[in-house]
Symmetry: C2
Subunit: 414 residues, 2 copies
């Protein structure tokens, strides 16, 4: 068998595993109880590994917030000294079967969505999505919202999900893709369907009425609620495709605001990085181009599994957030087929006459066609201390893919 | 001022009233308490007036069902004798500020959605949407579902809506149009948003827990729930545009399965009818073309206000129900501009780069361009006794519009 034939067979196997995934929400629980290898005085963050002194402003702000949230420091200055001292370990979420939105910061008392891939038995985790602390805002208001998730909404949703015996996410995502969601920055339909599904169970699991009401108002009015679920579902779906010998399929794309990194199935454990790119899009009123930080977050795991920019043609409502035209959005989703191994039999786009979303990014095709993935994303401030400032479209650096391909050749032809 | 100038000014006024509408759900209540002129032993039905001996099979089956539901007869044969005797009055919904899906049958104990147009003070009513009795099925199961709506879900929703002080429907519809709904046969997003809006209020209005749970499961899992609301909202929005002297704007399109009828603003009180057309689309498994009844229902009030086929380009998910391609759906919505007075400033379609839906069908433009409205619709059986058998696209007979235009010329030029 030629190397080319080996790679093709390996990529078919990776694709088979990705499309066979059966992500089921099984719990909402404190990170300390479920995330493997998460220790006390450790902060998990988005993207590839990055040292504290090279971290971007938003991720530093978010780390300060987590030190305050955990009570490791009493004020921002003390938190910064602590982080400078190196006493707080900082590791990528992806090294712990976990993903996190934007700065992605997770510590032991952050409750996380627990998604089990029932086709393979693996679990993945993602934190709650909100619009402040995960963007680097460490104000009292931002931290108070995290505390509500920890004390009220997370525990209530955990109780409901356990009482349901788990909530299968594949059919829910398939329905939401018919309702104009693309599962990255447009998750209003999936959030609404999720709220519908948990509502009667929340009422019926013996919680105090005030907690039930607070949680119903939270789930019924959070347009980004499902993003934490779609990220965890995507991570749970992708992890079994890791480590397929000779596969050139991308298993993760993740950014820490300093570097963009990808991981490749046949090169398990390695990161291929390049400087994080600038996002092109729309800024919220009051913000200027020079305020914007660079591309950040683990949320591009959604593109890796065939959602986000790969499904944006079916989600023109997102253009109010990212900019661009409906025709461009359709073209993006069609273009992504040229760099993918196949299409999904389950995740179909009505706007493309019910064709499946492109799945399984092949680094060979990216380099050969000079076409990089399309990612839609939110924008954080370049400095610590701010909430969301905008949204847009970003393309990863081609170098990530060409470096990975060079390393692949070295490993498999060498 | 020339007649042409008078007509254009009148149509601008009709359009102004339609787009100024502010439909708010204010109650769910028994028809007998709210619908003006609804008497005991009276059945309201969809479409223009039709005598019992010319009624289509589905509407006859639905009337039999209502006689049983109201206890006016003990079995179908007795109901049929009663209806043959002429003792039960039968009148169009539209003569009572009301609309009904498919056969559209409403009697005194049918609970109805009550929508108030707060910009003009008028109210409109629509019954609950389900998949059996309104299609002509009068089985015990079909009637049991009506009884649950009367005894459990209708009263619970009425209590919640009153406690909310009303639910504004315009912003909810505008959001749903960004989520792939077109507000006629695709209302999954609006149904989901509605369920989330009422959920916490249902929990908090002192109802028995079993009733709350039953209602939450009902609202959270009914893909056509919102159709009754969108029809009532459309009717409430259109009625103030009735009776504008010299306006050629269509104020209602309605079908009884025997005839298709339209009403025109400047010809208030008159119907312009032609034989009901055949629907082209997809039948559910087990049904054949010759089983299908002709076009039926008041639901084309949604097209009259600029939804349904006028918005179908933004709702490609509906094509699994009606057939056709995404490209055809976009073309339908674009074409409807050529027969309309203007576009909506509130109801925008992301798939058409956030342009407004076409509003205000002008009978002159229909006749001049030989372009009739596009309506998406469900299909009933031609005989009494069956539930839904399919869905598709239907075009009204051009004669309705040409007859109305001839009468308009007679009245205003004569």
């Amino acid at each position: 068998m030629s190397l080319r034939e080996r790679i093709n067979a390996a990529n078919e196997e990776a694709l088979r595993r990705i499309v066979a995934a059966d992500p089921v929400l099984v719990d909402v629980a404190p990170a300390s109880e479920v995330i493997p290898g998460l220790r006390d005085r450790m902060i998990l963050h988005s993207g590839p590994p990055v040292a504290w002194d090279r971290m971007c402003g938003a991720q530093r702000g978010a780390a300060i917030g987590m030190c305050l949230f955990e009570g490791w420091a009493n004020d921002p200055a003390e938190a910064e000294r602590l982080l400078n001292s190196g006493e707080i370990a900082q590791e990528p979420n992806h090294h712990h079967a976990t993903v996190g939105p934007m700065a992605g910061t997770i510590t032991r008392n952050m409750w996380v969505w627990v998604v089990e891939n029932r086709a393979f038995g693996n679990r993945a985790f993602c934190r709650q999505v909100e619009s402040f602390q995960q963007f680097g805002d460490y104000s009292a208001e931002a931290l108070a919202a995290l505390a509500k998730w920890r004390d009220i909404w997370g525990p209530a949703l955990g109780a409901a999900v356990r009482k349901m015996g788990g909530l299968p996410l594949k059919p829910l995502v398939a329905r939401a893709l018919h309702m104009g969601d693309e599962m990255h920055n447009r998750v209003v339909a999936s959030s609404s369907l999720f709220a519908n599904a948990v509502a009667p169970v929340l009422v019926d699991c013996g919680l105090p009425k005030e907690q039930v009401l607070s949680t119903l108002y939270y789930t019924g009015n959070h347009p980004f609620l499902f993003l934490g679920l779609s990220m965890a579902a995507a991570k749970a779906s992708m992890d079994p495709a890791r480590g397929v010998e000779a596969s050139t399929v991308v298993t993760a794309m993740a950014r820490n605001g300093t570097e963009f990194g990808i991981q490749v199935s046949g090169l398990e454990g390695e990161w291929f990085t390049a400087p994080a790119p600038r996002v092109h899009g729309l800024l919220l009123p009051g913000w200027k181009e020079e305020d914007a930080g660079l591309d950040m977050g683990d949320s591009a795991i959604t593109e890796t599994v065939g959602w986000g920019g790969f499904a944006i043609g079916g989600a023109p409502g997102i253009l109010a957030f990212t900019g661009g035209t409906a025709e461009q959005a359709l073209a993006y989703s069609r273009d992504m087929r040229t760099i993918s191994v196949g299409t999904s039999p389950d995740y179909l786009l009505p706007a493309l006459n019910f064709e499946g979303t492109a799945v399984g990014i092949d680094i060979r095709k990216v380099v050969q066609t000079n076409t990089v993935p399309v990612i839609d994303t939110a924008i954080a401030h370049r400095e610590p201390g701010h909430g969301i400032i905008g949204g847009g479209i970003v393309r990863p650096p081609l170098e990530c893919f060409s470096r990975a391909l060079a390393r692949f050749s070295e490993k498999y032809q060498g």
